[in-house]
Every structure is written in structure tokens, then in C-alpha cells.
Symmetry: C2
Subunit: 124 residues, 2 copies
Amino acid sequence: MPMSDIYSRMTERSMQEPTLLLLTALADAPRHGYSLIQEIAKISDGRVKVRTGTLYSALDRLLQQGLIRIERDEVIDGRARRTYALADAGRATLAAEADRLRAVVAEADRRLSTIRPTARGALA
Amino acid sequence: MPMSDIYSRMTERSMQEPTLLLLTALADAPRHGYSLIQEIAKISDGRVKVRTGTLYSALDRLLQQGLIRIERDEVIDGRARRTYALADAGRATLAAEADRLRAVVAEADRRLSTIRPTARGALA
DNA sequence: CTATATATATCGCTCATCGGCATATGGCGT
DNA sequence: ACGCCATATGCCGATGAGCGATATATATAG
């Protein structure tokens, strides 16, 4: 009995930033792969430059999960172009993710602003 | 020449949720490992139950990166206890992470609330 | 002719996280 | 006495999202 049979996926890991930005980029309008890379860079103020390896495997995964769907396939100027759209499930997932993150960020802010009794030179 | 020599860490990946919650849990007071697990569960409303494997390797990594430091080592009721504190660099990193996430969440909200011309049955 | 932009796709590798296990003490129930 | 749970730390193999690189192809600019 191989280990791979014992170890099976139980938890859905929390979404990472590239995926979050990908869903965000699709939230207002359908887009094709290449334009998503640019849109994600724009949203993140140039911080996140998603590689094609990340992008296309993420698109496959999200299609599989039903969070996005293929809107249409075209040929523009001799180049194939596949346009993706956010599915209802993806919209719900993104909204839930935003809520979760909002809560965590609020908690981080709250804790960061607490007066710490161990702070050096404080309580003067 | 093995592949492992070609492939070397270039980018710092964006922080994942367990790590974010770990830093958040340390933001208001120093805590020891086991209590961090409970604090993280509390912060995330029971959603994130960090495994000890995740926790202690994360603590090692964050120590290495200088984001946290060992506050003290004690023996309480015969049990070893190591208490960690958020370092200045960790405090700055957490604040920056919160800012980034706030921006992404705001953008997601903005896009989720846009009226989409392709929406079915809309514009009545 | 050669970059650069547009566009999609695949492959090997890394690392944070996961699940499980090991170890040890103290307290509580039976 | 024995098991179970909470407390507490730590290691190890497996998983999978993301990364870097590469391949392929067309159009446009220099």
C-alpha cells in the first residue's frame, strides 16, 4: 500500500494571492489569459507578475472547480484567443474570500495598535 | 550540473494565511507555540486549525527571517515552554501585508459591485 | 533580420502547508 | 491502575500552488 493512498486531500487550502487576483480581474468583465496577466499586474500596482505557468494551470484548476467558465474561443489576427468569465460559484467564492481577508486585516490592525506593556520606554 | 543548482529561490512568495495569522497572533503579546494554535483558531473563528508541523516549521522560518524572536524559555509544571515575540521587522511586514490585502479586497469589492452589461435579465 | 508584443501551453522544481506520528507531563474519570 | 484529554514541542513524508524556463506561432516596429 503506497503512501499516496494514505495521504489524500482533505482540506482546501486558503487561496493564494495570484488566484485571488485572477478572480478579482475577472469580476468586472470576461478576459483572455494574456490580458489577465496585465490586469493582475495593474491591480497589484505592478507587484504581482503572474507567470504563464501559474496562469494557465490556475485557469485549468479553476475551470475544474467550476469557479470560472470559458466564455468563447476566437481567432484574432491569426492568434487563438480563449476568453474566460467568472462563474456564479467563483463570484460567491471571491466575495467570501474578501470577507475573510477583511476580518483578518481588521484583527491585525487592532492588535498592531494595542499598547504593549512590554514596550521599551513606554508608559512614561 | 544538477537542476537544483539552476533553480534557486528568486522571489519571495506572498504570505499564506497560516503565517499571516501567526504574525497577527503575536502582534499584541508574546505567546508560546501551543497557545498560538489556539489563538489562530480564535482569530479565524475556528476556520484555521494550524498543525504543529506547520507551526513549528513556520516559527523556525520566521526566526530565520528575523520577523520574530525568542522571548524566553521556561519550564512550567515540568513542561518546556518557548515564548516567541514579534520583532520590529515582523511588525513592519505584518503592517505592509495588511495594507496590500486591504487594497486587493477593496478592488475585489469594487469589481464585484460593477454592473455587468452581459448580466442576464439585468438593465430592466 | 531581429526584437518586442500578443497569445497559449507544458515541464521540472521549490517550499509552505498538511496529516500523522513520537514524546513527555499533569489532571480527571472510572 | 489504566485510559483519555489537555498541554507542549518537534520531525517526517506527501501535496499542490506557484515559479522559472522553454516552445510555438503571428504581427508589428526598427
